[in-house]
Amino acid sequence: MIGKGLLKGLGITFKHGKEKNITVQYPEVMPYLQERYRGCLEFDPKDCIVCGMCIKACPNNVLSLESAAMPGSKKKQLVSYTIDLQYCMFCNLCVEACPTNTLYFTHHFELSTAERGAIKRIYTPAPGTPVADGESEAVIIPPEALADQVDTEAEAKRLKQVQAMKGAISKGNSKVLAKFVDSEEDASLLLIILQGDEKKQDKMAALMIDDKDKARKVATAFVAKEKRDKAKSEEGKQ
């Protein structure tokens, strides 16, 4: 009979009126979280052995670290460790990759911040913390201290030089480049490459000031690659 299903539906909804509510009143009552729940990604600097496995495992470049060579040892020590949580997918790959359980997920899930920058977490080892590995006596130097060691005046001069070099490249002065490649032709080719790519330009300018030999190597590599690509694309057309 038509209407029987309708009445049955009414009966079901009526029955549920008496049942217990399933609502969890969230801010007052915190939801029950399972043990493995992946809330916020946290880092514990004291166990880190600076192996970089987490950074290799991360699909989205969330993690980065700064390290310094430990005096008198091949090992490195941590200077700072950054978790840029806004890109994190909470996929657990870094946690699985970490050999010392330095990275872990907490149950804290209220991650919103008032400012975009605040979601980036930067961890530094506590100043004066000896490195976990007992072999050397190395002591972590806080990054602020490291910054003091840099000669600010020399750095400013260097930056000025780099800027000048960049200006020359973007203006199309291939003479500055001629020192770093074999021929005039290559220099103009390199100029085209560098003008086309802002990043390469920055890198090259810095290298040309800091390390002339390395700059020469990189420049030749760039030119050689460009030539190869050209040859290939011509081959492709044929």
Binding site: N61, E235, G236
Partner: protein, 157 residues
Amino acid sequence: MAPHDNSLAAEPLAEFLAALQGSADIEEISQDEYFVYLKVNAARLVAVMQGLLNEWGMNYLANLSAVDYEHVFELVYHLYAIPDNGRKIAVKVRVPRDMPQVPSLISVFPSADWQEREAYDLMGISFSGHPNLVRILLPDDFVGHPLRKDFGKEAGQ
């Protein structure tokens, strides 16, 4: 045993392979444990597909994907039959990069419609005879075909 044991059964294939050996349309037949691969010239694609549909009952075009190999594009069509007849066929067509044109399969398999539009949109392969070859996933005013290897490489952040 191959992982995920859904490899090809030898039984219904022998006859099929024998019949195809003689076909002039097919340039090359190869086989691994999961698929029979047929290499076909783009010009003969529709005829081959029609043959596979009519004579061998391959009525289900499951997948169409386009792969960018530096100088050529390769289109791979994965065919099955409903109800299953044990044959799993991947038809491959190679087209030159500077003139990527393939005849559309809409007349044989209507399911090629959007899949061809997708290949056009993302890989820039044009399907001649497609009634409505416009972008499907990207906005209409998008420039370029992002799945090509020479499209800007800076992915991620």
